[in-house]
């Protein structure tokens, strides 16, 4: 069991462009090179037209909260130290079927346990921010 935060494996070929994007401050999604449909999480084939042609496109980074939880210990040690914290799922403004898991933070550098969970509501508009943990920029969300 890990003592650290769980971070994405940046060697995962399919998703690496996403994490390269977050490192540059961009929230990218896959767009089918043939039919243009967006998809998230990334995968090799478009389920609509079976094309394996992929482009990565920037999004607005604007979304609304679709759901949220407040995990309490016991958790992996790095997370237990912060618990209770929030985790959220957001739906992207341009296409609400594109969703991301993240955390609601008060400021661009704020921790994931700063906001009073009682104030979090489904439907709240949020904006992406990027927080660097080790060698990864994780997309998190602030209110807008």
């Amino acid at each position: 069991m890990s003592d650290d935060f769980l971070l994405p494996d940046l060697d995962d070929e399919t998703s690496a462009p996403f994490w390269h994007g977050t490192a540059r401050g961009e929230l990218l999604v896959q767009s089918c090179g043939a039919c243009g449909a967006w998809r998230m999480p990334p995968r090799p084939m478009c389920p609509h037209c079976q094309s394996i042609s992929v482009t990565w496109v920037p999004t607005s980074g604007h979304a609304t909260i679709w759901s949220f939880i407040v995990p309490h210990a016991p958790l992996l040690p790095a997370y237990s130290e912060l618990a209770p914290y929030n985790a959220i799922v957001v739906a992207l403004d341009e296409d609400p079927s594109i969703r991301f898991v993240g955390n609601l933070v008060a400021t661009e550098t704020g921790p994931i346990n700063e906001i009073d969970p009682a104030t979090i509501a489904i439907g709240e508009p949020v904006r992406v921010v990027f927080q660097t943990v080790e060698d990864v920029a994780l997309p998190r969300w602030v209110r807008r």
Binding site: D9, H72, L82
Partner: protein, 381 residues
């Protein structure tokens, strides 16, 4: 394959925590007991259907239990979704003549690494977990809590609805001498005061963690007639991976609250002479309490979004509820063995030997994990 095969033997080990035997040993003990119960010899068994997550492999089980020449063996993945899957695949193999008598089982120890996949992560995650784990959605309870909060918002599920589930199953366990929670009563006040695990889910919304093993023997209806136990005929069976499904963190499809139950139910009822209104008793997979209202909707016992309200007025409670559910106490109050205890309880309702027996149950529904690729079986007398 309707009614062409039956469960003719059931067997299990005791439930416990920290049982000394290995998972393989537990599996073999349960399978051996089930074969005895069926009035068969181990050498009569020529088919195996097992959970992919099993620690004891088919060759080891066959060599230990002394099974005959095995002519059919298969696996079903996705943990708690596999319970009815292995029963149904065993039945399909018997029905198609690939074997004559098959065993299916689940053996699990809570401390075992293979039993708790969420605890065996390294600090780098690939695949679908990279989209949730870094943000602290770590455990199955976190993953299901996210869907629960959405269902509360979208459908009006409440903590009182979830308490209805927890209390009903505990009452059933209080009448089941082998249930882990046999001697422990649960009140609504205790439920409401319980510590959070992952809001909006509290301690009593979670299943138990149990060591133990359970097994069934499946053979043809023809052969079943000569055996000592009343057959539980496999009337209908289905599995499903719904379109665009993602295991546990099913947040990325068009309608995440339309879970695997929906596609599974379509085939199950299409193949069945019984419809939801005809079903007098159900064993619904209950790793977490909100899976019950979601399953009630998916399997057609109420309309979409009505699963919370369905649980009101003691609807899930034996003997007077509209649908006595998890009559042995289920995963939340009897034992959590990846839902395989639900299969045995479904058979007992047909045999007439449940601790909370529904009188003259003509059929009995069992479902497997909602939130993962799933399966369901409808037994009949």
């Amino acid at each position: 394959m309707k009614d062409s095969c039956a469960v003719v033997g059931i067997g299990q080990t005791a439930y416990g925590k920290g049982l000394p035997d290995t998972e393989l040993s537990l599996a073999c003990q349960a399978i051996s007991a089930a074969i005895d119960d069926a009035g068969l010899r181990p050498s009569d068994v020529d088919g195996i259907a097992m959970f992919s997550m099993e620690d004891g492999r088919e060759v080891d089980v066959a060599r230990n239990v002394g099974l005959g020449d095995i002519t059919y063996f298969s696996e079903v993945g996705f943990g708690g979704g596999a319970g009815c899957g292995v029963v149904g695949q065993a039945a399909m193999a018997v029905a198609t003549g690939q074997c004559t008598t098959a065993v299916a089982w689940r053996a699990r120890k809570r401390a075992s690494k293979t039993s708790r996949p969420w605890a065996q992560v390294s600090d780098r995650v690939a695949g679908h977990q990279q989209w949730s784990r870094p943000f602290g959605v770590l455990r199955p309870v976190d993953e299901i809590a996210m869907l629960t909060r959405r269902a509360m918002h979208q459908y009006g599920y409440t903590r009182d609805h979830l308490a209805n589930v927890a209390l009903a199953f505990r009452k059933h366990a209080n009448r089941n001498p082998i249930a882990t929670m046999h001697a422990k009563e649960l009140t609504r006040e205790q439920y409401m005061d319980a510590r959070w695990i992952s809001e909006p889910l509290c301690l009593f919304d979670n299943c138990l963690e149990t060591d133990g093993a359970l097994a069934v023997v499946i053979t043809s209806a023809d052969r079943a007639r000569d055996l000592p136990q009343p057959p539980a005929y496999i009337h209908s069976f289905a599995q499903s991976i719904p379109q665009q499904h993602q295991v546990m963190t099913n947040y990325f499809c068009e309608d995440p609250l339309t879970g695997p139950a929906w596609a599974c139910a379509r085939l199950l009822w299409e193949r069945s002479d019984f419809q939801p209104a005809d079903v007098p008793v159900a064993q619904l997979y209950d790793a977490f309490s909100p899976l019950i209202p979601l399953s009630l909707e998916g399997y057609g016992f109420c309309g979409r979004g009505e699963g919370g309200e369905f649980t009101d007025d003691g609807a899930l409670e034996w003997p007077h509820g509209r649908l006595p559910t998890n009559t042995s106490g289920g995963g939340m109050s009897e034992a959590y063995v990846h839902g395989f205890n639900l299969v045995l309880e479904g058979v007992r309702q047909i045999r007439g030997t449940s601790p909370n027996q529904v009188a003259d149950a003509a059929c009995s529904l069992v479902t497997s994990g909602e939130g993962v690729p799933t399966s369901a079986v409808l037994f009949r007398r």
